[in-house]
Symmetry: D2
Subunit: 421 residues, 4 copies
Amino acid sequence: MMDDTEKSRIWQKITEYAEASASELSELRRDFHRHPEPGWMEFRTSGRIADLLHLYGCDEVLTDQQVCKAEARMGVPEGGGMTGVIGMLHCGMGPTVALRFDIDALPVRECEELDHFPAQEGFRSEHAGYMHACGHDGHITVGLGTAKLLCQMREQLHGTIKFIFQPAEEGVRGARAIVENGHLEDVDFLLAAHMYGGSEQHPCGICITAGHGLATTKLDVDFHGKASHAAAAPEQGNNALLAAATAVLNLQAIPQHGKADTRINVGKLVAGSGRNIICDAAHMELEVRGKTSEANQYMQTYAERIVKCAAEMHGCTVETHLMGTALSSSNSSELNERLEQVCAEQLNIPVWRDPEAFSNVSEDFSCMSEAVRSHGGQACYFLNVSRCSAPLHNDRFDFQEKALMNGVKAFCGVTAELLKT
Amino acid sequence: MMDDTEKSRIWQKITEYAEASASELSELRRDFHRHPEPGWMEFRTSGRIADLLHLYGCDEVLTDQQVCKAEARMGVPEGGGMTGVIGMLHCGMGPTVALRFDIDALPVRECEELDHFPAQEGFRSEHAGYMHACGHDGHITVGLGTAKLLCQMREQLHGTIKFIFQPAEEGVRGARAIVENGHLEDVDFLLAAHMYGGSEQHPCGICITAGHGLATTKLDVDFHGKASHAAAAPEQGNNALLAAATAVLNLQAIPQHGKADTRINVGKLVAGSGRNIICDAAHMELEVRGKTSEANQYMQTYAERIVKCAAEMHGCTVETHLMGTALSSSNSSELNERLEQVCAEQLNIPVWRDPEAFSNVSEDFSCMSEAVRSHGGQACYFLNVSRCSAPLHNDRFDFQEKALMNGVKAFCGVTAELLKT
Amino acid sequence: MMDDTEKSRIWQKITEYAEASASELSELRRDFHRHPEPGWMEFRTSGRIADLLHLYGCDEVLTDQQVCKAEARMGVPEGGGMTGVIGMLHCGMGPTVALRFDIDALPVRECEELDHFPAQEGFRSEHAGYMHACGHDGHITVGLGTAKLLCQMREQLHGTIKFIFQPAEEGVRGARAIVENGHLEDVDFLLAAHMYGGSEQHPCGICITAGHGLATTKLDVDFHGKASHAAAAPEQGNNALLAAATAVLNLQAIPQHGKADTRINVGKLVAGSGRNIICDAAHMELEVRGKTSEANQYMQTYAERIVKCAAEMHGCTVETHLMGTALSSSNSSELNERLEQVCAEQLNIPVWRDPEAFSNVSEDFSCMSEAVRSHGGQACYFLNVSRCSAPLHNDRFDFQEKALMNGVKAFCGVTAELLKT
Amino acid sequence: MMDDTEKSRIWQKITEYAEASASELSELRRDFHRHPEPGWMEFRTSGRIADLLHLYGCDEVLTDQQVCKAEARMGVPEGGGMTGVIGMLHCGMGPTVALRFDIDALPVRECEELDHFPAQEGFRSEHAGYMHACGHDGHITVGLGTAKLLCQMREQLHGTIKFIFQPAEEGVRGARAIVENGHLEDVDFLLAAHMYGGSEQHPCGICITAGHGLATTKLDVDFHGKASHAAAAPEQGNNALLAAATAVLNLQAIPQHGKADTRINVGKLVAGSGRNIICDAAHMELEVRGKTSEANQYMQTYAERIVKCAAEMHGCTVETHLMGTALSSSNSSELNERLEQVCAEQLNIPVWRDPEAFSNVSEDFSCMSEAVRSHGGQACYFLNVSRCSAPLHNDRFDFQEKALMNGVKAFCGVTAELLKT
């Protein structure tokens, strides 16, 4: 047990350290921003993270097969591999806290105009066609800053800390592979945060939400038919485009779930080779979503039945590939409260509640969150708010770098709070 | 063997008799015209035919179960039964000739205007909503006249004659049930004719065709889903209307057969109960056709697969009922020639060829024709041409009664030709 | 102004009267239950209501054209007319209170089994195929009981009361016609209630809700095409079934509104005459709904565009008929509170809040409610809860008759509260 | 006028010359085979043809804008230009004969296996991904051989000869642009031929057909919608994929023409960018065909209406581009007979009739043929038959080079026959 003086020294240390690290954090973030890598291809990113975690003094640094279960990865592109890093810090007996930071970038071409801050300051993406347009460069940086400080504070802590640097969050493809390797099984407290744009009323600080989000499933569908001459022998073909068009209309026509809002979108269809040939192949990319995991499952099951029957209707076969999945979830209110209290009372960070903020999206943090909550652990997903220059995923997205410092404070603070005894 | 004098006496007898019967035939025809009955409900019609065949001296008169195989009947309406009559005339050793006459009427309300001959002459339909708009009243009459004369001529004939009065030709529903009772198995020569409108060039007489017609299959489809409240619990229903609408579009979109013209039509759809209830049932009536039986079969198989998959796609079940079927067929050229020769040389009836006349329709004579041809017999379907007042199936359809006489001459003549030795 | 003694006498009078009326209310309710009439055909019902309002002493009893604006009625069936009644009670200077009671029955065949209370007690529907399965027999009865008592109490009241007996609530067809006659323009307070099934926790009493409901629009759609022979001349037809099937799939596929839950259902489709005729006419019944009036309008506009284009696509024409409409709405929280207070403190009725109860349905009370709120008035829709034997619209639906008494107490109580000064 | 000796010298000269040219023709053909160029990109091909026509002694050699009307070209790819060549030979007063040879290749990768004759002999395509898989290398060679000989024979001829080397026949894109430049207006006789595979019975020679073919129209369709986030704001998008899928099903469902066989195929569809974005663009490639130009026009008009309405239904716009067109046509029987007679009687080439051979395809020769026939000229399309190693358009297609000689004989022979007086 710590006495009050000891405790107050902890909060002071966190505050001082974080503030002193401002330029180091900024430099780190700009390096990652210059080198964005898409999901399952975060090779340089993972290498840098692993090196730094070693340097900071983590007891173990897991990489490659140690992080993700290979066959549980979803939506791996050509050339994709075993990315992601987990740093372990063992501080004796006590609970296990996992902090999760996502590390992948988006296939967005970054804005070149000079009123875009990274362009102006010369740290624009050097990987043409890719950009950290979702703030994950900030997430990585906050994760590394947090790891560095907690390594320094290990004597004051009692328990275990896992710094999980997760690949392929975009498209909700990566969390499952980490969960299936068992990394969440012994976790008592799990936290993660997302950069988020502030308002007039709350320009900067930590926003506590209910942790809701849409459950979702991402599917790729491939119809295989048979080509034949469209004038001379149409009856000898199996028309994959008729199957696909029937699937599109029926997928979009799945009756709403009565209890929970649902969504479906077939966003892409590529079919056929030439106008005088019965189409022999069609590739379709779709997603379903639901306010509850149950409603999402209803949509997914219905969708899978539709594509199967649409194929069969025209003598085609069909393959369905799971490309990503997220559950609906909730924050643990107790952990929410401890985070709120630490921020407000110990760290002097502005903090407020907005239960439904960020609830209209899908996050594969939910896979980890449900894994932890299923064995009685607590989970919390919060928002790291600063003024942002554009919406998430926009080619002009940028956050304020002081958010990096707030992030480090909040993660270190809540971890210290959880492991201080 | 007959000598030439004997033969010429036969032709003379046929000619004289037929011409003397004009007013008797006309009277008979008008009686049937006044009492039209739809398919499988030709109760009065069958009764009258059976009575007359007895009277004329047929050796056997088959009715009820003797005519049609009950379970092979298609498209039997509520109240429908075992109609149809077969008269047998045994004239010793020799080939078997079957003459087929169809007896059902149509659900057409007959024109009341006085320039419509049956209205003017007072023999308009007395069965409101039904009409002999396809000339089957004429076919019955020709069949009875032919039977009467051939019974009188039995001493000059060698072989067996079957006068087949077939029910439910409309919708191609009846022939199969007669074939499946085995009545065509021993038939060497099969003939039938249809009333047909003449042209400037050929106003009246006998037209010899190739006997082609479209193969066709008539299907009723019933989708069974599950009702639920459309706002509160749409996900608990199984939407039979989504299944049916998907089926309609895909049925109509079946790719053409490359080798033979095909057709499909979903002509009727009745689905659902109210706007705020997920539709739980849909009833659909459709037909497919093909220039060849193979092309028709391609359409039927594809159609059955579509309705099955459309149902399954929305968690519904489906039943498909065969309501009628006809094959593609051809006349035997040898029998065509004998008919032509008899008409032209012995009976003095105008006769000409028009191979593709009447080929754009479907006739279930084709079922009998294929049965006879499959064991080496010969079949011939010809047209009994006179000036007609309107197209077939129109509420103003009427033929000239002199066609009755020509019909009797042609059927008696060709039968005498076939059985005279 | 009333002094406290006077006031407490009012509450006592209401309580005593209502309790003394139990058997009269029950008798009245059973009479209406025996004679259910569907929307716009409540001729006997309206006659009885008008007679009783006269008898009770209303100053004016409006009927026929005085109630509904003829051309603003929606979904009027063949034989439908000018039903509905409004009773006016003028009690001098003061605010205007409108109480709305809906009076139509449903096309449901009432259960005959003896464990169904109305069957057991001999007051089952005598109008075969119709039933008060939504409790409107209770609503009428509560309205009449309320009118009778308030007429007796007129000396204690200051203001005007309108007893609105609205026809054709089912299908949300009737309210607009009353609004468009101006009856809500001078109303300061508007109240209505619905019979509702209680739970273990709240078996009986008054439930205060937020008054939310789904905005909805009911449309009938008629496609007009052109018939032709399906084998001989399909190209000469205009296929109304292809238009309708295309409309069904596309209507159901309208992309969800992002901000508010939406629904659509095509519940009924009747198309075509026979399988060998290109379908020349299709009749479709559909509804759209939305959590907000704006989302509902988005659905309606999209739906109207779809049916128009689907028709045009196949050379057909289309007519769209508005058959009913309701808005999304909200209770006025101030009126909610006054009702709650009166029930709880003066009338000793169990009362509780459940904001989202009954929010998954559509009520055309919303038309009246929005009319009143648009000029600054207050509106409140509450639930009259008792144990119910089956869900609303079920052929076994029944409520407990003690709810009649609670209803009268609540309506009289809140009116007295509003007009007592 | 020529006397008989003179005439017989002509036939002899043609025969001798053609046979002596075998190796020259073979060499020429292999050169074109090595350098296949797709439609509107036959730059090297056109250059070589023009050079040789000059060399052979044509009076005029038209190229570039002189051949095709720029704006009447259809389906011009990026990089495409003004290809095609017309050689003119003026031989005094007399009729005008046009001989048409098509010159473009296909986007087919030629087989590399050594049992494929061009691979074995070392003249396989050197333009990777393109191949003369439709025998147009042979057509060009026959045209050049014919031009060379007829230039030599000019003293014996009376009239004008046009050697039309047409670009972009594949996809029926090129003929119209030549017709619209007026080159067919003064033509009395028009001939063309296609390489064709022989049978056991007719392995090699000239096959006279009825010149029938399917009328066809090739259309590209571009739907333009509006992207939006599929979960957060689907209602703000305009879903081009819903429009396209609706179009696919309805296009394929266009009711058959009753009088003439029709076909439709949507062979290609490319739509959308990602699964979580409402699809904003869809590109579709389709074709319609008909046994008659009228039936083809019915299909085209219906198809254009469908895509327009499908777009409008979902708030999208649509552009339709005409990419190719051919008419239905017929050979002039008189010209057929003269060709048959010359081949059989003067040139000793095996010749036979097969009216419906090659009738299940579309040829834009029909545009020229109809132009000539519309002002009273005669047209003939015949088949130059030899044993072929695979079907047309296959990567192993090859014809026998002796067909080159037969082609030259036939074209020279019939031209001499037409212009000999």
